[in-house]
């Protein structure tokens, strides 16, 4: 286990998405409403640079919306720039396919320092 300081909290304001590199590993860091998430910058679909995609909401519809289309989850959805597969930043899960889920690296803030923990 190794801890890597990637900056201070001021470097990752709410709504930001940033790709950092630790050794050879590219990691996307997202601040969703004050909580930081770190996901690998590689899409499980065809290995596109997932974390360079846009952060958005998405279209929502179901019994709760009386089957009307509504915009929801603003700021929580990452869209891969290659084929547009949507990922829930807060879980790493693709919305359209249960087989596509990316890992979440442990990320923490101590004394304003942002730290990602990687396996050895």
């Amino acid at each position: 286990m190794a801890e890597h300081v990637i900056g201070t909290i001021a470097d990752f304001p709410v709504g930001s998405s940033t790709v950092v590199k630790i050794r050879t590993i590219e990691i996307g860091v997202f601040n969703v409403a004050g909580t930081l998430y770190a996901l690998p910058n590689i899409c499980p679909h065809q290995y596109g640079p997932l974390c360079t995609g846009g952060v958005n909401g998405t279209m929502v519809s179901g019994p709760d919306t009386d089957w009307q289309l509504e915009w929801g989850r603003e700021g929580e959805i990452l869209t891969c720039p290659w084929h547009g597969i949507e990922f829930d930043i807060t879980t790493g899960q693709a919305l359209a396919n249960p087989r596509f889920k990316v890992r979440q690296y442990p990320i923490s803030v101590v004394d304003d320092k942002v730290t990602i923990t990687l396996g050895s």
Binding site: T58, M59, G62, L69, I85, E86, A96, N97, F100
Partner: protein, 359 residues
């Protein structure tokens, strides 16, 4: 012998037979049409089933079955215990432009079917015709015939239907079918109309039209009901696809899932992949079953779709019917044969009583 349910056989619904069951003024029209040439929906200037080719010697004859007793006898010869009846001529039903005539004809067909074909406990079951021209009236017909325990599904005329079956105007039909726990059964036929995907006029012989017509109809209508969320909005609705074979099904599963990845936000009401809805509440009838040189490839196709999704159909008495042996000869387990020949259809058509031997 393997218990066999045949999900698609045909009754000969001539205008003369339907006339006594039809309301005025259209009863008069049916009487006038009686005795005319076979595709009687062809009125001047409107000929969806236009015979575009000169007759060629040696082509299969036109066959029809006229009575329930004849049908029972013929199914016995084919070793088929249970058969689900669809019309002959009213396969073209969706192309009728006159809403009042279509409504009267649907009533007449449903009455005639119940009176002439479904009176005896003889293994024959019917599907109530839902008129796409008049969805509210069709919903009433479904509620009315749901009380008849020999009606086991709802027939959705699919050839030439416009708009396709996913349009929200048909919601009353899906709602009533779900309510009654009657599966909706899509059945197409080879026709030429300006409606997508039936514009087959550019093909110069029937080989080509026949190759494409049914499968394209099923692919287009499956996509249609998926893209407006019918299986999500009607979470108990069962859907049966007939007379298009089965090899198009894995392709559509894979293709719809692929684009669901990319365009999920266009169809956010689908809360899982299209293939998952297909594997949960849709069934696919075998006829005209594909016949690859290596039959194990067809068995693999069945596995890909789902062993519980495939139901036997013969299409008796039509020219391209499949004998049960077309399935029974496949290199697959006895359990899978039993599932495809009859047991899967018991799930698709829950009203068909489970025979003692099959339990």
């Amino acid at each position: 012998m393997v218990f066999t349910i045949d999900a698609d056989i045909h009754v000969n619904d001539t205008p003369g037979k339907l006339a006594p069951y039809c309301e005025m003024p259209w009863r008069k029209s049916l009487e006038l049409l009686d005795g005319g040439s076979y595709p009687y929906l062809q009125i001047p200037g409107f000929a969806p089933n236009l015979r575009q080719d000169p007759p060629i010697a040696g082509s299969p004859p036109y066959r029809s079955v006229e009575t329930a007793a004849d049908m029972r006898r013929e199914l016995n010869e084919l070793d088929i215990e249970v058969g689900i009846l669809f019309p002959d001529h009213l396969l073209l039903f969706a192309t009728l432009p006159n809403r009042e005539y279509a409504t009267a004809l649907a009533h007449a067909y449903n009455r005639w079917l119940a009176e002439e074909w479904l009176q005896e406990d003889n293994g024959l079951f019917g599907v109530v015709l839902a008129s796409p021209q008049n969805p509210e009236d069709s919903a009433n017909e479904i509620r009315k015939y749901a009380k008849n325990d020999r009606i086991v599904g709802v027939y959705l005329p699919t050839a030439g239907v416009h708009p396709l079956w996913g349009d929200r105007k048909y919601d009353p039909i899906f709602s009533a079918a779900q309510e009654a726990d009657l599966p909706v059964c899509l059945h197409s036929v080879t026709i030429t109309t300006p409606q997508f995907p039936y514009q087959l006029d550019q093909f110069e012989n029937h080989f080509a039209r026949q190759v494409l017509s049914h499968a394209f109809a099923m692919m287009a209508n499956l996509t249609s009901i998926m893209h407006t969320g019918v299986p999500a909005r009607y979470p108990k609705l069962k859907v049966v696809f007939t007379e298009a074979g089965i090899a198009w099904v894995p392709y559509m599963m894979w293709r719809m899932d692929k684009y669901y990845n990319e365009y999920r936000r266009h169809v956010p009401f689908l809360d899982r992949r299209p293939s998952e809805y297909m594997r949960e509440r849709m069934w696919f009838a075998t006829q005209p079953v594909e016949e690859p040189d290596d039959p194990s490839q067809l068995v693999e196709t069945i596995h890909q779709i789902g062993d519980d999704r495939i139901i036997f159909a013969s299409d008796w008495p039509h020219h391209d019917f499949d004998h049960p042996k077309a399935i029974l000869k496949l290199p697959m387990s006895q359990d899978l044969k039993r599932a495809v020949m009859g047991l899967n259809a018991l799930s698709a058509f829950p009203r068909i009583p489970v025979p003692v031997a099959a339990e």
